[in-house]
Symmetry: C2
Subunit: 151 residues, 2 copies
């Protein structure tokens, strides 16, 4: 994903694609869908993931399959094969008790990260608020305000 070139939202507005790499947080989203929806197979999950994804980029199926494999080696999901229906066999994954715990730990981490981001976004907004109306914001700033005419 070359920086600044997003074919999905090209030119329209800032999107996570255009900002370069962002982790897609595939692991917690997969765990959530598996607990919310119940046991499911990858191809089925890939449709439902979009509704719960944290970014505006679709979760790649390759990444999904690899994440499911990794989650199984870590003991957070268990799997079985469903060959009952017609068509190719389906690899069914279900969340384990450890996986449920891990999902809640992820929620704690994401909650902290979310709060930090909200504070950061506020900080950026404050940079602009200083341009008009009552300024202050920087504690140690004792410069003459009338010098700041950068608008």
């Amino acid at each position: 994903m070359p920086r600044g070139q997003c074919h999905r939202h090209a030119g329209k507005r800032p999107c996570s694609c255009a900002m370069g790499n962002l982790y897609r947080f595939v692991e917690p989203v997969v765990l959530f869908v598996l607990e919310h929806h119940g046991p499911a197979y990858g191809y089925e999950l890939s449709k439902e993931l979009a509704e719960h994804a944290l970014t505006d980029t679709e979760i790649d199926r390759g990444a999904l399959y690899r994440t499911l494999q990794r989650l199984e080696t870590m003991g957070f999901v268990t799997s079985s094969w469903d060959t009952s229906g017609t068509g190719p066999a389906r690899h069914i994954y279900g969340i384990s008790p450890d996986g449920q715990t891990h999902l809640r730990e992820w929620a704690t981490v994401l909650d902290n990260l979310q709060k930090s981001m909200a504070a950061f976004v506020d900080d950026v907004a404050v940079l602009d608020q200083g341009r008009q109306t009552t300024v202050d914001s920087s504690p140690e700033s004792d410069v003459d305000q009338d010098v700041l005419t950068s608008g």
Copy 2:
């Protein structure tokens, strides 16, 4: 950083370290500090970055220097050398107008991501609420308040 093994917060609580890789969002944090603080050099920045970092992991100096180099090739910062003082020369970086724009685009992206995360964390919490009582945290909640005894 091997998954699940965090030497910084080992065993204490879930931290972003223990959840595997998370992008540290070095780029927007560096841009913010450069605009908030004014032109600065890397070694100086590394101290101030911790206060504005989005995760509980310190930003690696190697990552910082590389980010500054990348920001310069993208035209978001400009640089010069300060050899006036004693000690090693200092590579001074300052944010450019394009960089200021880019920082605000980053803020938009992070604001969206933050909102998605908050919604996700709520969704995970709802998984547990169903187990006891009939609590409902949605806006149109007309549930009995006396069920909520979380204090």
